[in-house]
């Protein structure tokens, strides 16, 4: 019961769910109290007072075609609808969960037979099965209830079976089995408690449907039979006088709607409260450009001199429920035309965030740039409007990312992806862009340049995929290529090929390159200068050869030492890092 109280508290914290709960409680209360409320007899006909409109004296909601008091009928009808709907839900939950528990726990042929049956039930269009059941049993409220139960059993059976099958081989179940408990007892005392939340979620999300369906069957004249009337059959009767007295149909329909919407609100609340994935709070979706929120006085930053790119005092943070976390804490780097700058650091050092901040590609929210400047060819990108950034991205500034399996679109042909990059900056006919893409594939030394474009990423090898990414980056003859761990996902021989390719392209085309890696060996091979990052700051910077030969910062020494030399790794890693970030 304490679990239930906690759940209730969590649901009530959700304002919409709380509103639903209050609404439903009010309706339930009135329905339960119907016998003691001062209501007219719901079945007393009065031919003189037929079809009175609402707010008539003595009939607050008016009267129906037989002169019966609508308010009274509405409350008694709601009582019946709720009773039948809730009974149907509980029965469906009970039977469906039992089937799911047994199928999931027993496995093998029991599972196969039961779930085949359930699948076949689900092969029917929903309501049609209910109709078939009512057709067999004959019209009547109780038969409508059975029909709704049968139709809803599969939802419970499937969900519960899935969870149970996952629990079957868990340690606590094995332990119970070893301690000599019988299978039935294990199922009820060990498995069932763990499955209950799933049953509650399914119940709370389906009870609204079930009330709707019972009302629907009654509306069709297949549920409650006169003189007995639930909300659905009242609606059905009202339909006959729709044009002269619309309130007779409108009012019971409105009540069904209110009941169902309150149940759906509660259902959503329960699901959110019980689903652990939602509990942490869902972050907003990332926008097209990273937000910038920097102190006005510092906007602009120093002039960039002769550098193609000058990053000064860059600060990037991530907003979390516990306040902002700084990932980049005042980084300054610059790259000249044709130069290669390496940024090295362990994962979490802020090197990728720095790289993404340049093109304002940090996911935002939660990312936000809180200070500094990024000057590209003199223009401050942190102040640039989205249109300017869009033209620069893939145009003069191109990116190559780490894992091309996740960074290429999985459902688009690679040729189209490259052609698209071309056409985003240079309007041309599709065929011309495709031919251009084939030339790029040749430049990155992909085999079968003419046909490889029609492949999907998953059909290529890792090295081929990364060549496609590089071709895409080169599509519009950029001035700067930012390569974020482009070889990390590849094996060593392929890695060497890709590095050679990048190096050759850079020299041929006079590209400026920012190369991000955690591997000093890779950087030393490719870059003129290197910046070493630790915990969001640059701790050392200089010509690559000099830093490699004479690392000054202890962290750099560890990185240099981590370049694999057989037998040395262990004692270097054991040594403590003195100093840390500046």
């Amino acid at each position: 019961m304490r679990g239930f109280a906690a759940l209730l508290r969590r649901v009530m914290r959700n304002r919409l769910a709380a509103a639903g709960l209050v609404l439903l409680a009010a309706i339930l209360l009135v329905a339960v109290l119907a016998p003691v409320l001062p209501l007219a007899d719901p079945n007393a006909t009065d031919p003189v007072r037929r079809l009175k409109p609402p707010f008539t004296d003595g009939a607050l909601l008016g009267t129906d075609a037989l002169g019966r008091d609508l308010l009274s009928r509405l409350i008694w009808g709601a009582r019946l609808s709720l009773a039948v709907g809730i009974a149907a839900s509980l029965l469906a939950a009970l039977i469906g969960s039992a089937i799911g528990l047994v199928a999931g726990y027993a496995g093998r042929w029991t599972d196969t037979v039961l779930m085949r049956g359930i699948d076949t039930l689900m092969a029917f269009p929903y309501l049609l099965l209910a109709l078939a059941v009512v057709a067999a049993l004959g019209p009547g409220l109780l038969n409508a209830l059975y029909a709704v139960v049968i139709v809803n059993i599969p939802f419970f059976a499937r969900t519960v079976r899935g969870v149970t099958a996952g629990l079957r081989s868990r340690e606590f179940v094995d332990a119970a089995r070893l301690s000599g408990k019988g299978e039935a007892r294990i199922l009820l005392t060990e498995v069932l408690p763990n499955v209950t939340p799933v049953i509650v979620i399914t119940l709370s999300t389906t009870v609204g449907w079930m009330i709707l369906e019972t009302a629907g069957l009654s509306f069709l004249g297949l549920g409650s039979q006169p003189p007995e009337a639930d909300l659905g059959s009242m609606l059905g009767e009202g339909r006959k006088v729709l044009i002269n007295a619309p309130h007779v149909a409108a009012v019971p329909g409105l009540l069904v709607f209110l009941i169902v919407i309150s149940l759906n609100l509660i259902g959503d609340g329960v699901r959110d409260a019980l689903d652990p994935r939602l509990r942490a709070g869902v972050p907003g979706r990332p926008g097209a450009v990273t937000r910038v929120r920097r102190p006005a006085a510092r906007a602009g930053g120093p002039a960039s001199g002769d550098a193609l790119l000058a990053v000064a005092d860059l600060r990037t943070a991530f907003e979390t429920p516990h306040g902002p976390v700084d990932a980049v804490k005042g980084v300054s780097v610059s790259v000249r035309r044709g130069e290669c700058l390496g940024i090295i650091g362990e994962s979490g050092s802020g090197k990728s965030v720095t790289a993404l901040s340049i093109g304002r590609l940090v996911a935002s929210p939660p990312g936000v740039i809180t200070g500094g400047s990024v000057r590209f060819d003199g223009e401050d990108l942190l102040a640039a409007p989205p249109g300017v950034l869009r033209r620069l991205r893939g145009g003069r500034i191109a990116y190559v990312f780490q894992d091309p399996l996740t960074t290429l679109h999985p459902l688009m042909r690679v040729g189209d992806q490259v052609a698209e990059a071309i056409r985003a900056h240079r309007p041309m006919a599709r065929a011309a862009a495709t031919a251009e893409a084939a030339r790029l594939f040749a430049a990155v030394r992909l085999p079968d340049q003419e046909t490889i474009g029609s492949a999907y990423p998953h059909e290529l090898s890792g090295g081929q995929r990364q060549r496609v990414s590089i071709a895409m980056a080169l599509a519009n003859d950029p001035d700067l290529v930012i390569a974020d761990e482009p070889t990390t996902a590849l094996d060593v021989t392929v890695q060497a090929e890709i590095l050679d390719l990048l190096d050759g392209l850079r020299r041929d085309r006079g590209l400026a390159v920012i190369f991000i890696s955690h591997d000093f060996g890779v950087i030393a091979r490719l870059c003129d200068r290197v910046a070493v990052m630790l915990k969001g700051e640059i701790v050392e910077e200089g010509p690559a050869a000099a830093v490699l030969a004479e690392p000054r910062h202890p962290y750099t020494r560890k990185l240099v030492a981590a370049v694999p030399i057989p037998g040395r790794a262990r004692d270097i890693l054991a040594a403590p890092v003195e100093g840390g970030a500046r």
């Binding site: 085949r116 076949t120 039930l121 092969a123 029917f124 269009p125 929903y126 309501l127 049609l128 099965l129 209910a130 109709l131 078939a132 059941v133 057709a135 067999a136 049993l137 019209p139 609204g208 709707l212 009302a215 629907g216 509306f219 069709l220 004249g221 609606l235 009202g238 729709l242 044009i243 619309p246 149909a249 409108a250 329909g253 409105l254 709607f257 169902v260 919407i261 759906n264 907003g284 979706r285 990332p286 097209a288 993404l356 590609l361 869009r390 991205r393 893939g394 990312f401 894992d403 996740t406 960074t407 679109h409 999985p410 459902l411 688009m412 990059a421 985003a424 998953h458 059909e459 895409m472």
Partner: protein, 315 residues
């Protein structure tokens, strides 16, 4: 792909077999004596016995099932007692009307649901998102038969811009424009719930996709945000949305029963409701079987579509 479709068609056989078994079983469980039900309570015992023999009801259930299934496969669904004509003729005459209604509703629901879901995801937590979320909640909580009545009141009775009911005007109608005018209200009513569910799912699928790395790549290429959302994100999201549209087809086919009743649409749903009240068992059996089989085929189409959308499946 052809081999895949062929394989899936073969896999349909046991499903269709299961469907027929369930339909037959339900009907076989009918309490009381069908012959008495058909002939009425004043029938002589001899007549009841003769009819039972004619209907094959004096034989064992498995034999009855085998006979019935054989007839069904041969296209003989029996004779409707209330209409006094072959069930298959009646069903085939009614089915196109249901297909038009359900098809229009499903298309409408998909378009509305996808658009609302995309807008909602792109403007997450914004005003548009809140409005869509509210509209979805209201839409899926609304009894469709009630909504249909309200729409008739508003558009047919008060504003007099659309016909109250039926599929064609009784005098002088019959062309496509006439059908369209009659279709607007029932198709909209039928589409609302499905549109809500599709919108909900599209929203969450889009939000999931928009967080993926390949979306960042699309932006790094300098694509216009329009293209990032409507081409790159939507294409990936559709892979999860299309099976749901397939499932919704079942809800729409079922929901058509209410809508056909409300709008006097001459489809299979209304036929079934009438057949149930006249206890015309064979007509119910035949109608349910045909609609269920077409739903199974529809789901096959959805699977094939999903496969065409996602080259990774089965690779």
């Amino acid at each position: 792909m052809a081999a895949y479709i062929a394989g899936r068609l073969i896999a349909l056989v046991p499903v269709l077999f299961g469907l027929s078994l369930i339909v037959f079983t339900i009907m076989a469980l009918i309490p009381g004596d069908p012959a008495t039900a058909i002939l009425g309570s004043y029938a002589t015992p001899e007549n009841v016995e003769r009819l039972n023999r004619e209907l094959g009801l004096d034989r064992s259930l498995p034999v009855q099932y085998a006979t019935w299934l054989g007839n069904v496969v041969a296209g003989d669904l029996g004779q409707s007692t209330s209409l006094n004509r072959p069930v298959l003729d009646e069903v085939m005459e009614r089915f196109p009307a249901t297909l038009i209604l359900a098809g229009a509703a499903l298309v409408l629901a998909s378009v509305l649901g996808l658009l609302a879901g995309i807008v909602s995801a792109v403007r997450q937590y914004g005003l548009a998102d809140k409005l869509v979320t509210l509209a979805v909640l209201v839409g899926i909580s609304m009894p469709s038969f009630w909504l249909g009545l309200l729409l008739i009141l508003a558009f047919s009775v008060r504003l007099k811009v659309l016909p109250v009911s039926g599929m064609y005007a009784i005098y002088g109608g019959g062309d496509a424009a006439d059908l369209l005018r009659h279709l607007v209200l029932p198709a909209t009513t039928l589409a609302i719930v499905a549109a809500g569910i599709i919108a909900r799912l599209t929203r969450s699928a889009m939000l999931e996709v928009l967080r993926q790395d390949f979306i960042r790549t699309a932006r790094a290429k300098g694509l216009p945000e329009r293209r990032v959302v409507f081409v790159h994100a939507l294409r990936a999201a559709l892979v999860t949305v299309i099976p749901v549209i397939g499932v919704q087809a079942g809800f729409v086919l079922g929901g058509a029963v209410y809508i056909e009743t409300v709008f006097q649409w001459p489809g299979i749903g209304r036929m079934l409701v009438d057949a149930i009240s006249t206890r015309d068992i064979l007509l119910v059996q035949g109608g349910v079987l045909v609609v269920a089989a077409s739903y199974v085929l529809l789901n096959l189409v959805a699977d094939v579509l999903q496969r065409l959308m996602d080259p990774r499946i089965g690779a």
